[in-house]
């Protein structure tokens, strides 16, 4: 039984296996999938009712409304990211896997992003039309969400990993993650604002992309460390 000790494992094996598993699980428990999208649509469609249907006002507020709704719905969804795995013991199997943990958590966060954030990105132009955004600006809304929501998922996953061992982690995740959301929110909304008054918005997008690169590089290690602490305690 000595020969299997030193086997070298391909990194992609654990990533794809876990991605596939989480997607299958998500599609079998569709209720959890719908919630963030439902929240996103509700918040945005309530705004015209609350502040009045005046086109110029809504147009001005649209970037903020869309981004804050996306941000809060990410926060709402993230509590379930590790919860189920923690409760049924699968998280222990992941920690004891010979695959590096940061690869496995990347797969989990990616699956979670595909299931909870991609529907928001697809729905966003329709909701943008409701807020009197038009033409190129709708494309920019989608683009900023496409680059920005993975950062939000990564950041909130750090909070989820740190709080998964606690019974009520929801509020704590918000406190940990919200300050880190702020730069994403600022660059996301200002890109849309710039586009709507026909200024170049490439700079803001570049900043968002830089934040994404940093998040994808470092967050998985933080998430992995957080999970080890949570399971160890």
């Amino acid at each position: 039984m000595n020969d299997i000790d030193s086997e070298v494992l391909p990194l992609s094996q654990g990533f794809w296996a876990l991605l596939k598993r989480d997607l299958v699980l998500a599609f079998r428990q569709r209720g959890d999938m719908i919630n963030p999208l439902f929240f996103f649509v509700m918040v945005i469609s309530l705004f015209p009712l609350g502040v009045g249907p005046e086109a110029s006002q809504l147009q001005k507020m649209a970037p903020g409304i869309i981004w804050i709704a996306a941000l809060l719905s990410t926060l709402l969804a993230v509590d379930s990211l590790f919860r189920q795995d923690f409760d049924d013991g699968a998280l222990e199997l992941l920690l004891l896997s010979p695959h590096p943990l940061f690869v496995l958590v990347s797969a989990k966060v990616f699956a979670h992003w595909l299931v909870t954030s991609v529907p928001l990105i697809i729905a966003s132009p329709f909701l943008g039309v409701m807020l009197f955004l038009e033409g190129e600006v709708l494309g920019v809304v989608m683009l900023t969400l496409l680059i920005g929501t993975p950062i939000l998922s990564m950041i909130s996953a750090i909070g989820a990993a740190l709080t998964v061992g606690l019974r009520k982690g929801g509020v704590l995740i918000a406190i940990i993650a919200l300050p880190l959301y702020v730069p994403v929110l600022i660059f996301g909304t200002s890109a849309i604002q710039a586009a709507s008054i026909e200024l170049p918005y490439i700079g803001q997008l570049a900043y968002l992309a830089a934040l994404l690169a940093i998040a994808v590089t470092f967050a998985p290690f933080a998430i992995a460390a957080g999970l080890r602490v949570s399971v160890s305690g």
């Binding site: 039984m1 296996a17 049924d88 699968a90 222990e92 896997s97 010979p98 160890s232």
Partner: protein, 234 residues
Amino acid sequence: MPVSPNSLLTADSLFCERDDRVLFSGLSFSVEPGQILQIEGPNGSGKTTLIRILCGLSQDFEGDLFWRGQPMSEVASQFRQSCVYFGHNTGVKLALTAEENLHWMSQIKGIQADKHSLNENIQNLLDKVGLRGFEDVPLYTLSAGQKRRVALASLLLKPIPLWILDEPFTAIDKKGVAELEQLIIEQANNGGSVVLTTHHELAISPEKLKTLTLGSQATQSEARMDLEQEAADE
């Protein structure tokens, strides 16, 4: 204590306390290939804590662990390929079928096999744990014992030197208990080792079985002396 590279797992003067209560201190033992180590003790004596320390889930202890004579921190990745853990919560996903569960578990465990041979292997294992005919239904339709049997099948996906089992006999029927005991004995006969906690009397020949009793300090040092005696005999 000298650490022998022949031992699979060696623990040297482990100390652990919970809420100012010392669970064990100065606990030293080793697990040799072909040996079954049964951890005994009353409820709350730290059996599960010790198991979690041994498999690397808990860092909340003092002392040293060695895998094949090398410090655990240096060979963690090798250790994780050579050890399988079966705890109170087995990690099977209720919304997935038995087959799908074994699929992801084998890949997370880093088992390299082509699709066809893996499928065949999984079919045989489900046969072996008595779940033929239940391959394609989601696990939430099965009984508690059947769910644990799916997780037990994952122990057998490939030969693994060290099994760490926490109360493996829970929720399994009499016939299943006998079968599982047989699997444990086979594992030992094949040169593998098993560390387990159970309150169940094991029908295993004493030369293979080593017992470690947790609980009061007195019984602990006795257990340690027993172990040292055994080591001297060998």
